[in-house]
Homo-oligomer: 162 residues x 2
């Protein structure tokens, strides 16, 4: 599980670097699909990751407002602010947590349950999916997207040692 | 690991169903980014998944030609043809395989090594990334994409039992 989170965080950083070349207008420009703009996509990725992990930890969710994070600099600062909590949770993840149950009551009053294993995979896939959307949007600007490869990033224990 | 593969296969099937409403022209229409068309994206997802698993199994890769699979029906048939081999590999996956090493010589003569764990995660993320791209393309046609949610699909052992 940790490998996938490390992958996402590495790719996300590379995307921030790529976005340094874009104007604020490009970063906020309304686009078709996904979260509707590049910066809002980053905001959503960061928020969803943090919020689900807060729920697993039984902590209250604090809904930030995108209006307060409308620059790459502010998005990176938000990311950094949440990251220590998120990364501590991921570091401490082990297989024993896989089948713990998160019970939630949705806004419509419906009760739902998810295993923790489903929730962490949901967070992982959520980011990869949205990053795929960004790759289309930057191609429309004739910019080569960040590689989505998992291999050749030195992510496994073996790679780190060799 | 199995949960992520099951997720991808479930989502892929739902995408095929969604694509039944599209004309062959829409499915083959050149689009910006990714693999350049909807059908070619499916072909690429199926091919990449199968080819990497063949490499892990030490079997020769057989490169199919997209020209032979230019309809949704043919894509589904190719998927089905490869699926038994792919799903047998995934079914037999266990943690002991995580750090086995795949040695490859690239076309430029360079030797590279990947852990099997990296390779299976590469396959998983690869599909999710490309599906994210499809979601933009169908929104451009004013069609609601397939949900990318991992939760609420009954994917975990707990969900399957409850």
């Amino acid at each position: 599980m940790q490998i996938f989170f490390n992958y996402n965080w590495m790719v996300r950083k590379e995307w921030y670097q790529l976005c340094e070349q874009l104007s604020e207008e490009d970063l906020l420009k309304p686009r078709v699909g996904g979260m509707g703009s590049i910066l809002r996509t980053f905001f959503h990725i960061i928020d969803v990751e943090w919020s689900w992990i807060r729920m697993l930890e039984g902590k209250p969710d604090i809904q930030e407002n995108f209006d307060d994070y409308k620059s790459l600099k502010e998005i990176r600062a938000l990311d950094e602010r949440y990251h220590s909590e998120v990364s501590a949770f991921v570091r401490d993840w082990d297989a024993s947590k896989e089948n713990q149950i998160l019970h939630l009551t949705l806004e419509d009053g419906k009760d739902v349950s998810h295993t923790w294993g489903e929730v962490v995979r949901h967070i992982i896939a959520h980011e990869i999916h949205h990053i795929g959307q960004l790759s289309i949007w930057v191609r429309e600007m004739e910019i080569k997207p960040v590689s989505a490869n998992v291999i050749e990033r030195g992510l496994s224990t073996y790679s780190n040692k060799n």
